[in-house]
Every structure is written in structure tokens, then in C-alpha cells.
Amino acid sequence: MGISIELEVNGASVSKEVEPRLLLAHLLREELGLTGTKIGCDTSQCGSCTILLDGQAVKSCTVLAVQADGGEITTIEGLANGEYHPVQQAFWDNHGLQCGFCTPGMIISCVDLLGTNPQPSEDEIRHGLEGNLCRCTGYHNIVRAVQDAAETMNG
């Protein structure tokens, strides 16, 4: 049985008929081709699938597509606007990644973190990113990237 849902994904309207069990992460990756969002652990721990749903960072592998009906979604593909988002640029400048698999989710979480706390301390950054795992353990440069992005965004 298909359920009709409507979403706004990265600014574009999307209408889909979906199976109730379809996870938001699979809708984004497989139906909409937005493969920037990764699926890492599939058990709600690693945060690779983090996207913004109505402005809040959520793990899209743990949200049903039907639950997101009517919502506004931003994925890593929707962050840049002609030029990189300051958080993307800061990850580039500070080499805030190693293999890059966790990076899309990490960047989305950082955008959410800086939205609620524009000047986080190092401790607040590490605590704020506890829902995103980097298996390369590249956390030091990620923290530097967030500090750099905060500085840029506070202008």
C-alpha cells in the first residue's frame, strides 16, 4: 500500500508514493539520487545519514519517509549556494576529514550545532558532535574546522 507524501528537499518540491517502511535515508539516496547522505551503521549510532529536517539535525536512517511528510529537508547537496557553505569551506581548509565517509553527516551536524550555539567551546563542539562517529578518528581537525567555521560565520 503506497502512501502519498510531499516534501521540500533542498528547496525543490517532491511528491512521492512510498511504502510505509521506506526509511528517509533510502528515499533520499535511492529514489531522489541524493547519495551524499551516507548510511554507515544503520543502527542510529554513527550519524553518517544526518540531514536537516525542518531545521533540526536528525538521523535519516531512523525516520520513516512517511514521518517526514510535509517537512523541509536539507541534505549535504543543498548546503552550498553558488559557493561552499562556511562549514564546508572550513572542513576543506582545515582538512576536517580523512576518508570522507562521515563528512556529509558531520557537516550537517555542525551546521545544526552552530545554529543553536554560534560560539561553542572545544568541549561543547566535541559534546555536540557525539552523535557522529569518524572511524578514521580524525576528530582534532574536525573540531578545528568547526572553530574556524564559527569564526567565519560570526564574521
Partner: protein, 285 residues
């Protein structure tokens, strides 16, 4: 990993949700989904239908009236942890909500889902128990209220009937002289409580203790109240030495252990976390 197939219902009222539950014996309630969806993906649960209560207006919002705080079942951990009303009226609850999972989980997980799931290692049950919360429940026969002390029956078992919905949680507003706190020692990988302690302390005009409550998550199959320790504090001066001595006598007869932490270890941890929770609550009283 996909869950098994299920029918999806999105009722707009509690009554409609109860009707759907009554006519679908194998249905489960979906709130934030952060406990249910993971177990469905692992195929540990395969309900025939989900009743998504996430858009029912009556289950949203935090309000304060007549000395109590009412929190709708679908209020998220994020909302509770950041609510000025909860921070002022029941700091232990705000602290417990703010320590669940991670940032992303706290945006989705709900108080109603958490308490109904009754995971003994989660953070809210002990806080609800220590604060003397009342849980409001609606079923086909109408509504009833259950005290937190009657709600948690056993490991992931509550007083909720299969066709009942937890609609809201009522917590008394802390009066002057009352303080509360929640502290936990978490599993370093999962973040679940190896031991979480919630304490509520009331001091009289002379500064001596006129009421105390101390409850734990993570050490037993349900949240447990350390009633003897709490009772021994009433009438005391609540000094650090008094608290240390009181928690030294703590005994949790049905403490449980696993490969990560034995029952004995958790029991010792409970003494330390219990003392920290009590002294923080005292400082706020």
C-alpha cells in the same frame, strides 16, 4: 535494513488512535521512533501496523498550572532539556533528558515513547520516579492516571495495556526548599546509563531534611527507588558526611550485571552516583 511490511495509520486525535489500536491487536504506537524503528530494522519487532501519534496536537507542549507541570507525551528530549519551565520546576528531568543519546536522537525521541518503552538503562524512568510523576493514560474505556511507582512493572514492561496510549506526564513543580538532580555514569560506547541517579531533596526552615527521594536507572530490570536510604536522610543535616554514610548502606537486592559491568560493580557505582545526585539536589534546595 528495512523493517518488515506494516500498515501505517496517522490519526489526528487520541480517540482515533485508541480506536485503531483496539481494532488492530498487533499494532504498535509510533512516536519519535528512536527505540521502535531500530528494533524493527533488526526484525526484533514486526508489528502488523504502526499508529503514528506524532501529529496529534493534544500530545504536544509543556504547560504549568496549579503547582504542576504537564508535559505532552510527544514532547521531545530536546524540548524538555531546553525548557526554562522544566529546568526551573524539575531540574532532574531536564538533566536526564539532556543526557539521552546524542543531539540528533534528542530532536526525535519523546518522553512518552521513552517511559512506555521502559528501557531500564535509559535516563527518564528514574527521574520520573524520583520526582513522583503521574502518567496520564487513555484507552477504550476512558482515561486514568498511574503513578510512576506503579507504572514500571518489569524489564520493558509497564502498566500500559496494549490498547492504551500514554498521553502526558505530570510532574510536581519544586516548591521553595526543594532541589533535584540527575547524574549518570554512562557506557562509553552506547551512552546508556551503567548507573543513573535521580535525587529530590527538601529542606525545612532549619535546613534539616524534611523529604528525600533517590532512584536509579541501569542497575536493575526497572528503575528502582532506594527507599531506605531516602528515609534515613529525613531529619538529618544533609551534610556530605551524612549523605556518604547513608548511601554506604545502599543495597539493591535485584541488581543486574552484564559482560560490561557486573551487578556488584553497578551497585558500588550506585553509591557514588547516588551521593553526587543527593549533594547536587541539596545544593539546589
Amino acid at each position: 535494513m528495512y523493517p518488515s511490511k506494516f500498515d501505517y495509520h496517522r490519526p489526528s486525535s487520541v480517540q482515533e488512535a485508541v480506536q485503531i489500536l483496539s481494532s488492530n491487536p498487533d499494532a504498535k504506537i509510533l512516536a519519535g521512533g528512536h527505540s521502535l524503528i531500530p528494533v524493527m530494522k533488526l526484525r526484533l519487532a514486526a508489528p502488523a501496523a504502526l499508529v503514528d501519534i506524532g501529529r496529534i496536537d493534544a500530545l504536544q507542549g509543556i504547560s504549568r498550572s496549579n503547582g504542576s507541570l504537564r508535559i505532552g507525551a510527544c514532547v521531545t528530549y530536546h524540548e524538555i532539556a531546553n525548557s526554562a519551565d522544566v529546568q526551573a520546576a524539575a531540574p532532574a528531568l531536564a538533566e536526564a533528558a539532556g543526557q539521552i543519546g546524542d543531539r540528533q536522537v534528542r530532536y526525535r525521541g519523546t518522553i512518552g515513547g521513552n517511559l512506555s518503552h521502559a528501557d531500564p538503562a535509559s535516563d527518564l524512568p528514574a527521574a520520573a520516579l524520583a520526582l513522583g510523576a503521574t502518567l496520564h493514560v487513555t484507552g477504550p474505556g476512558g482515561s486514568r492516571s498511574v503513578s510512576a511507582s506503579d507504572f514500571f512493572v518489569d524489564l520493558m514492561m509497564t502498566a500500559l495495556q496494549p490498547d492504551e496510549i500514554l498521553t502526558g506526564v505530570e510532574v510536581p513543580v519544586a516548591q521553595s526548599g526543594t532541589g533535584s538532580a540527575y547524574v549518570k555514569w554512562e557506557h562509553p560506547a552506547s551512552g546508556y546509563a551503567l548507573c543513573g541517579a535521580a535525587a529530590v531533596v527538601t529542606r525545612g526552615a532549619s535546613g534539616s531534611c524534611t523529604g528525600a527521594s533517590l532512584c536509579f536507572n541501569g542497575v536493575s530490570s526497572t528503575a528502582v527507588a532506594a527507599t531506605a536510604v531516602a528515609a534515613s536522610l529525613v531529619g538529618s543535616d544533609l551534610s556530605d558526611a551524612t549523605i556518604e554514610s547513608a548511601v554506604g548502606d545502599l543495597s539493591i537486592p535485584d541488581a543486574t550485571g552484564d559482560m560490561f559491568a557486573s551487578a556488584g560493580y553497578r551497585q558500588e557505582l550506585a553509591k557514588v552516583m547516588g551521593a553526587r545526585a543527593l549533594s547536587t539536589a541539596r545544593d539546589r534546595a
